[in-house]
Symmetry: C2
DNA sequence: TTCCTAATTAGCGTATTGGCTAATATCCCA
DNA sequence: TGGGATATTAGCCAATACGCTAATTAGGAA
């Protein structure tokens, strides 16, 4: 959870994720879209990888990064759950009626 | 958004929020529940206040902190929206299936 | 091998974070 | 006015974050 939020705490990293939402992009293609050096981008990729938010796929010398949307979904859902946000209906001791 | 995620990126601060979910608590009462000094707690309160996640109410010498759940809700909802998570229905004509 | 391209890793400087103790407001009460 | 309780601010230190340039790794082509 800490890794997730740390990763999302930088605007550039959030921007990287939104770029990848459209589709996979190589490290170089991503770097071209931002106004920082490639090594700086590489560092941000590492943070996002460590949080599981992106996955790298190698093809020759090119690394293509894929957004791991499910990790983002599960992480944010987990946060909402932690704080009791979402489909909560009974503020009292009412039992949930979901089966399973 | 950055302030929100920075605030949530520290486990102790998330813990403070979950404690406040049950109900308002004074700064001292909160400090008693954690194993760090009061000034350290005060610093964390400041971060949470800056993000709008908690609100202080003074009564005598005592500051009582209230969770601003709506800010948390809106913030996380905003994040989900940013990444296109949630009740996405019409981003095109495609009936979306699964992740890869 | 050697060269070229793609990307990361190494190293450095500065800013921020996060913890502590000590000092300082602020308020209530006598 | 002074004392006691509550909480923050000030100051310090170690660790982390974040940007850069230079060097290195890795793969493909000749």
């Amino acid at each position: 959870m800490t890794d997730l939020f740390k990763a999302l705490a930088h605007p550039l990293r959030r921007d990287i994720l939104t770029h990848l939402r459209v589709g996979p992009l190589s490290a170089g293609a991503l770097a071209d879209r931002f106004d920082v050096s490639k090594p700086t981008m590489s560092g941000h990729f590492a943070v996002l990888r460590a949080a599981g938010l992106i996955r790298a796929e190698r093809s020759g010398t090119t690394l293509t990064y894929h957004l791991q949307l499910s990790v983002l979904e599960d992480g944010l859902a987990g946060a909402m759950d932690l704080f009791g946000i979402g489909q909560e209906q009974g503020t009292g001791s009412d039992a949930k009626t979901t089966r399973g």
